[in-house]
């Protein structure tokens, strides 16, 4: 089993929204960034993975097992941080830790206490008194304290201050280094995904628009700036997100390696310039579909 998660043809229909034909394989020792605008179906996909929502069709295998039939076992091996954090509000952080510890087979109390200290979370505070950021940190502390093999995080950095956001991302980036561990993180903040992900999947209007290793994607997608007449029409017509400005024209190519030889002369004459794009550019190009 080379894939820690295998998603096959998921379909979930809501009034006004359909999550359709979602198929993804997530290799071991990797971080998958699930990118998409709000309402694209990221949370629905993640909730299906956690068996919080049932799809109309399709299957999910986690650790090689049917996740629904083995949900207790699967959740024991998955650290989950949801879009919203739910705890018993009237209970303290310490109580919450003790409560959840009863459910996990591999709960590490020392690790939990260490994370509470590292994240500066007060043990005596009631969970309803915690700020949004601290709730996310508590969720992360719980998720990490039972030695999960897979972390599933739904927009974990939304609402966090930059310092904590950086800490959380660093923690996730180093998570697979332990071996055989993976992370699935959804976000519409592409900067977060760029920092940590090995693979990216773009979810647009309930469908996977693109799914590739991040570096491979960024090596293929480039922005081409060119002066009038510097690029043949048959090439310029293949560019997306085309713009015309006072210095010339620009557009994004999805297959730069195929174009590299063709435009080499233009680049040498400085009539064509090639610029790296970021995941934001890719997302915008996919959303606008220009």
């Amino acid at each position: 089993m080379n894939h820690i998660v295998e998603i096959d043809n998921l379909r979930k229909v809501y009034k006004g929204f359909t999550l359709d034909n979602i198929s993804l394989n997530i290799p071991k020792d990797s971080i998958l960034g699930l990118i998409g605008p709000n309402g694209a179906g990221k949370t629905t996909t993640i909730k299906i993975l956690m068996d919080m929502i049932q799809p109309q069709s399709g299957s999910v295998r986690i650790f090689g097992m049917d996740h629904r039939k083995n949900i207790k076992h699967v959740r024991n091996r998955v650290g989950y941080v949801g879009e919203e954090q739910h705890f018993y509000g009237d209970k303290t952080v310490a109580w919450t830790g003790k409560f959840v510890s009863e459910f996990f087979d591999n709960w590490d109390t020392n690790m939990f206490q260490k994370l509470l200290t590292d994240f500066t979370i007060s043990r005596t505070k009631k969970t309803k008194e915690l700020s949004k950021g601290t709730k996310v940190k508590l969720s992360l502390a719980i998720a990490l304290s039972h030695n999960p093999e897979l972390m599933i995080l739904d927009e974990p950095t939304a609402g966090l201050d930059p310092v904590i956001r950086r800490e959380v991302l660093e923690l996730l980036r180093t998570f697979p280094e332990d071996g055989n561990k993976s992370v699935i993180i959804s976000s519409h903040i592409t900067d977060d995904i760029t920092r940590i992900a090995d693979y990216v999947a773009f979810l647009i209007e309930g469908k996977i628009a693109l799914s590739e290793p991040k570096d491979e994607l960024l090596s293929k997608w480039k922005r081409i700036h060119y002066k009038d007449g510097a690029l043949e029409d048959r090439i310029s017509n293949t560019l997306t997100s085309q713009k015309t400005h006072m210095f010339g024209n620009s557009g994004i190519t999805m297959d730069y390696p195929a174009l590299k030889e063709v435009i080499a002369e233009g680049v040498a004459r400085e009539e064509i310039k090639v610029e790296n794009v970021d995941l934001d550019d890719v997302l915008i190009a996919l959303v606008k579909g220009e």
Partner: protein, 219 residues
Amino acid sequence: MIYLMKKFSFIFILYLLLAVGLVFPLFNYDRLTGPDPLTLNFVFTLAPYLFFVVLGAVYIHEQLEQKSNGYAFLRTLPVKASDIVVAKFLLVLLSVLIYIGFYCVAFAKISTNPSYWKPSCSFLIINGNICLILTALLYVGIFRYGYNKVGKFVVLLWLFIVLSPIPINIFLLKRLGISRREIIERVVSLNWVIVTLVCVALYLLLMRVAIKTLEEAKA
């Protein structure tokens, strides 16, 4: 599951203590001081208290679960929907058994007349069965339609159960000339062992429906 039961049990214990610790001496003080304290009035009023204890505990407990998003939290943990539902159903069953057990022992202790306390116990057991079915339906309703919709219905149902003995009394006694003794005799003349077995089987069936409903419910 035992751990979940412990977590859920607080409200149930509170309501049981309220019922057996407060209701018993306060509401029945005068009856306890009579020649045979086990009067029909006493038995007749105990049934609504059973509903108050069990349905009330479930109502408050579910309100707290709703307020704190308890189900959403539990569903992030390695807990099956069946564990949650079975824990709740077992707690209800235990509460009913404790309530009935307590009063049946109390009946035997305070009454010198077996022809009084035996039918009284039967009457209470049959009420316990009805209470089990109502509670199971309540859980299925909450898991399917949400607490907010079903909660209002529970208040109305509870008010009906508590207040209905008064108009029923008036109607039966004044209009039809049927006495409470006759009602109780008719009720206990049923084979309550069979009734109980049927009701418990139905309760367990509804528990399965509740599990399925919670599994299918959106997080």
